[in-house]
Symmetry: none
Subunit: 225 residues, 2 copies
């Protein structure tokens, strides 16, 4: 399918080698073929092999010993750090965020307590509306509201993932805001809380999607331009 078109040979080499490692073709401590052999196997130059190996070393999979060879240090990606920023576009990150926002809103609607709704309303009031000043502060308060929805879902995994790339999202928003990206207004936010209050996951789902739609549409326009 090649859904993701790798634009460069080094990335392909990285994935090929990582794949061989994860599939246990080489065990921990094993010595990889030398650079010339890898070059021939992967049909790329030795320089490209070196770039790939260097990345895998930085990610903890491999270890090189000058004069000796390249060895496998870890065959598991359990501890693999998720380093998103790669080439995930702003749109991709927003879509991933949307996935979490939607599911969390559904769960929160189901698991909510009266206190949950009260707290969300309080955070929303605190957030206020964007008056053109203190962009960073506003983004922070806005994220605080959304993170609260995630947290209210009671799902720790989602909270951690959300935390992971909310920083990167905030950064990119700050860099691009004030231009074409519309900030969902107070009513859209309030709709989410209201939907959660009804306890209907379908309504919560729909409210979040309505909320994010204008932003995604704006991102599409940015990408096209």
């Amino acid at each position: 399918m090649r859904a993701i078109s790798r634009t460069n040979l080094a990335d392909e080499a990285i994935e090929a080698i990582r794949g061989d490692i994860l599939s246990k073709r080489w065990a921990v401590g094993d010595k990889l073929p030398n650079e010339a052999s890898l070059s021939a196997m992967l049909s790329v130059s030795r320089g490209t092999v070196r770039e790939a190996v260097r990345v895998l070393v930085s990610q903890g999979y491999l270890e090189t010993r000058q004069g000796s060879g390249t060895y496998v240090r870890s065959t598991t990606d359990a501890g693999r750090p998720l380093t998103m920023a790669r080439r995930a576009s702003l749109r991709d990150q927003f879509e991933a965020r949307l996935a979490l926002d939607v599911e969390a809103a559904r769960l929160t609607a189901i698991r909510k307590t009266p206190e949950t709704v009260t707290e969300l309303r309080r955070l929303l009031a605190e957030r206020g509306t964007y008056d053109g000043d203190d962009k960073a502060g506003f983004i922070e308060r806005d994220l605080a509201f959304h993170k609260a929805v995630i947290a209210a879902s009671g799902n720790r995994a989602m909270v951690e993932i959300y935390d992971f790339f909310s920083a990167s999202i905030a950064e990119t928003i700050a860099a691009t805001l004030g231009k074409d990206i519309p900030e969902p207004d107070m009513q859209a936010h309030a709709d989410i809380v209201d939907a959660i209050e009804t306890g209907d996951p379908g309504k919560a789902d729909a409210a979040v999607r309505r909320f994010m739609a204008p932003v995604l549409a704006a991102l599409d326009r940015m990408i096209l331009s």
Copy 2:
């Protein structure tokens, strides 16, 4: 921890460039000097510069555009890894996975090509049904199908998050397969592909939820007991 042997020019180059980024010498979006200039500045060859840049790209700090230049993507410590701290519960992980599966299926339904559907059907046929043997192989093939759906969405961020999950998911599936947790059958999988083929995101959404519902229900019973 072995003493940090600075016998390695590429590592020095990595730290030098990363240092300049973190110290905000170059801001987000800024273009770095070209490879030849960096080579001269750091007193290393262009090949070494490329290895360093490649690592920083893999860590999310930089972005290269062929024919254009190398640009700063993040001035924050983007390399900070997401580690599923204190092992979120199995249920939490499944819910997070569900969030990604649902959204990816929606996007794939929208963005699908005939080849996408063909490929998914092929993977599903290859997966087959679980006959009690080769548990690891079956899980691998099963995950391959689900990852293909994610990949077909074209969203790199989701692919990476899913990859991050897949190790632990495979682990937990292996631990529970053949016990109380029902593995969604072939029909449930086929329903997802069919829904994607219709191009209706709503149907794809629903198919995935139907697919996951029995598993989540079983998990609930496990937690209660």
